[in-house]
Amino acid sequence: MVNETVLQIIMLIEVGLLALAVSVFFLHGVWLHLTTRRMEKLVKTGRESLARLVSSGSINLEDARVLRGLPNDIQQITFLEISRTLSGSGKERLRFAAQKLGVIDRARALCLHRRWTRRLRGARILSQLDVPDALVLKLLADPHPAVRAQAAEWAASQPSVEVVSAMLVLLADPATQARFAVQNALLRMGNVIAVPLAAFLETHSDRAAEAGLKVAESVASPQFLASALRLSFVEDVGVREAAAKLLGAIAGAEAAARLMEMLGDPDPHVRAAAASALGRMNYWQAGSMLAERLRDERWRVRREAGLALRAIGAAGTLFLRKALKGDDRFAADMAQQVLDLPEAATG
């Protein structure tokens, strides 16, 4: 039989653990209650002082003293909280105050820390305050993806040639786990990326090009036309599909001519993208070719062709009505479904 003493010892240990857990649970509750109240009070004071500093545009000694007297974490919370509502000169004043009060220096020190969590924190503070600091630029090559992603977020508000170049390099990095953040940041930089991105697309034909094409689609500058046309012929299906979408965003006769060719691409994803792009351009001249795609063997192509015909207006609707009476049951069904769609659902 198991010795009763052994059981008692085990049970004592368990009771000890339980008592510890319960004490921590309730004491943490009390601590949480007290610190939340204290923090709310301090953040309120800091918020008021900082708001006065930012709105007056000059350093008021009393407010500066109040802010300096706050614990570092409260200072950070106050600055980050108010930074979300500011831009332009307001943000500049906030940065000035942050510089004077040492918030930026502390964030810079965090960016150099050996632990990634601290570097992430530093990058977040500098990002949210839009501080143009070369230190964050270096973090684009950080070993941790979360830090790289945060640095990319910072880059969105620093659209210099150097920053854009560093970001484009990341698009070509097959190992990057923060590609979304990079693409998103490039997209938010707007037209400033058109020239370097066009140059990047001229020299790439792989997955990096696909990522670049997706960004280019949102900018839709005619400067991408040559690259989009070139990339629409490459072997990689994803690249061709992205090129078709970009051509639809750029529009124009050259783009339309290539897109009509792409309706005959061997890959259904590319054919569907080409049909959708022609619809996006409202290119009514492609009506008969799109109507032909209503008979495509793949559902996805038929659907996109139908939606494109609906998008190009009266001419397209005529083709859809004609398909209803045609001999191809699949084309007729798709035409009927597209014609049935309420206006809101045609996008």
């Binding site: 039989m1 198991v2 009763e4 059981l7 008692q8 085990i10 049970m11 368990e14 009771v15 653990l17 339980l18 857990a21 319960v22 921590v24 649970f25 309730f26 943490h28 509750g29 949480l32 209650h33 980050l80 969590t117 992430l120 924190r121 977040r124 990002s127 949210q128 993806p145 979360a146 992603a149 977020e153 786990q177 923060a178 979304f180 953040a181 693409q183 998103n184 997209l187 938010r188 997706k214 960004v215 949102s218 559902w299 996805r300 069904d333 798709m334 009927q336 479904q337 049935d340 769609l341 309420p342 206006e343 809101a344 659902a345 996008g347």
Partner: protein
Amino acid sequence: MNDMLASFVTQFLVKGQFAVLLYFLAVNGWYLVLLVSSLLELRRHMLLIADESRHLLLSSTLSPTISILAPAYNEEATIEVSLRALLALHYPNLEVIVISDGSKDRTVQVLIEKFGLVAVKTIYERNIETKPVRSLYRSSTYPGLVVVDKENGGKADALNVGLSFARGELVCAMDADTLIEADGLQRMVRPFLYATDVVATGGTIRVVNGSLVKHGRVEKTAVPTNFLAGIQVVEYLRAFLFGRLGWNRLGGNIIISGAFGLFQREAVLKAGGYLHDTVGEDMELVVRLKRLSYERGGPGKIAFVPDPVAWTEVPESAKVLGRQRDRWHRGLADVLWRHRRMLFNPRYGVTGLFVYPYYAFVELLAPLIEAVGLFALVLGLVFGVVDWTFAGLFYLTAYGLGTALTAFTLILEDLSFHRYNSFRDRALLFWWALLENMGYRQLTVYWRLRGLWKFLRGRKDWGAMERKGFRPITAPS
């Protein structure tokens, strides 16, 4: 005769009690490892999300499109509120597909009236064999809303139909009664953005009973005072915050709650969608995706997001809860049996060598071993082989560590998201954690054994789930 029986019981107890006690200690020891693992993972996660700018996702055209698949069966009373809450989720590229699974009430009519639905030609790309679709509707006011009315075929069938209609890169499978947090999708999509090998993500599901719900959103959290619901709050916290989170760090997650999960659509279609002939279709799909990633290559990481992303109503009657637990255990047994070739198979890496054996020998067999232990203890008392003091000590020792671990889970919750803030809630949580082992756990042992028995007999029925629905519930102040 009695002497012989007593001698047998003595022998059985002498040999069996060591085994049972060792089993309890080993299992709880492993739980301790999971607890430490989840603590580390939670700390990492909290550092990762502190002050992050998720709003950037909202303005990006690059955010992946998510198709929410919401199966509905006789949801006439709640469908409008539930759907409005879904359409108001904070996510930019969203499509909501409601699949009425042969509802016999006015579910479809309510949708037509309230959401401006227009019937369109019922054709679709039939990727997976399903029950026939009766009609298809699109909304004249909500571009991303699709309503499918189909013949009854069960949840798996409804989800498969939804998969055929979905256009998003990611699909979100949910229960009709799940309440999703407004920014839940933003939180769930995060692993897909930062890693290319993620095939599915799951998040923490919380118990909504007792909380204040308005317009399909949880406005005020509170721990329920109902015995069964209260204990399930603790159970859910433990299952998600230290179970799945702990496994997440060890790379061994194979469960995503059917109430709310996000999947790569292409991967699910390639895997053949949800299986019809199982009651554990959600776990089965995840295990199949994981298994196929080893066999065919491709993404296979199952990521768990500890953020509370969704809320579900749990049963408050023993009858309904029993049916649910019985079904869950049958589902577990069925999934483990279907994919038995993974057991101890090094080809399936961590999943085959550690996770699968854990689910087979701990999760599946635990009720059996626990029942044997309890039975032996009762026999011992009846035949006078053990005295009451010893029996009490044995019982408390066996369950003591589990209670302590549950209490540590409460600390995890408190250190991270602390949704239960009032003293009343804390006291109630602790109270339910203490009470869990005094009757409730033994009931679940019975229900799970019943599930195991039904599995062996080949039963695959679901049993009805009765819900009160999300009427505004007044939370205690």
